[in-house]
Amino acid sequence: MSMTQQLQRDLRLGTLVFVALIVLTVVEFALMYVVPGGPLLLALLLAFQIADAGLILWYFMHLAHLWHLPGH
């Protein structure tokens, strides 16, 4: 795989993660109108927050790089 293809592949992955983040955020917003307030809404929102943060930490912030030295 050429370098340009690798770059395109990585950029595509970033776009996919972004789309997932947008979907999660919009669903979160909709939950406020659909689910009555209380513990259920709180639990659902927390789950969505963790999913959002997890995607950013893993794919955008490359958390895994902390355990993998380049070239090792």
Binding site: V17, F18, M32, L45, I56, L57, F60, M61, L69, G71
Partner: protein
């Protein structure tokens, strides 16, 4: 003379550790992650204060459309920041500059959105009210982080224009972009906590 005689062996005994570039990169990353962890504790304390002081109470005057809009803007800025970092790792300076500029622009728009929200908030729940205290503290703390992130990104853009970054020399880009993503992660928790819980 006496002082020189006693301090010389001390200097001779001290050997600064020599790190390979790979080890240095690892230590830089570790240091940044520890910094992010400590910053997360600060945000967690502020978020906890919201529930401690107010429970899940939320005023109906909150501008929901604006809240969602600025959240989407910040998420989009994370994508452009990711694209900037990815571009320089593959040697594309033009990609770095284009995407860093876009990130700065989106971050600026986010701050304008927060300013608009503050204008409305001052009218409905000023800082003297309990919700106002929580709202302005959380969004203010976050806006300060956005501002410092914009400063870092502006520095990256400036240095990028001077040709100072390349595939093997992109730690500054990586560090600034990671910090920007952290600012986004903080908002991912702040937005539902202020706007959506009920």
């Amino acid at each position: 003379m006496m002082h020189q005689a006693t301090s010389a062996p001390h200097h001779a005994a001290f050997q600064a550790p020599v790190h390979t570039p790979v080890e240095r990169l690892y230590l830089n990353r570790l240091g940044l992650w520890l910094f992010i962890l400590s910053e997360s504790c600060l945000f967690a304390a502020f978020l906890w204060a919201r529930f401690y002081l107010l429970g899940v109470e939320r005023p109906p005057e909150l501008n929901q459309a604006l809240g969602l809009g600025i959240s989407l803007l910040l998420l989009l800025s994370s994508l452009t920041a990711y694209r900037a970092e990815t571009s320089i790792h593959y040697g594309s300076v033009s990609g770095l500059l284009r995407n860093t500029a876009a990130t700065i622009g989106l971050g600026g728009l986010f701050l304008i959105g927060v300013g608009l929200e503050w204008t409305e908030a001052l009218e409905y729940f000023p800082p003297s009210t309990l919700f106002g205290t929580v709202f302005f503290s959380l969004t203010g703390l976050h806006a300060l982080h956005v501002l410092s992130g914009l400063g870092l990104l502006a520095l990256v853009y400036w240095n990028g224009r001077q040709g100072r970054y390349g595939p093997g020399n992109a730690w500054a880009v990586e560090g600034a972009v990671k910090y920007w993503h952290f600012v986004d992660v903080a908002w991912v928790f702040i937005y539902p906590t202020l706007y959506l819980v009920a």
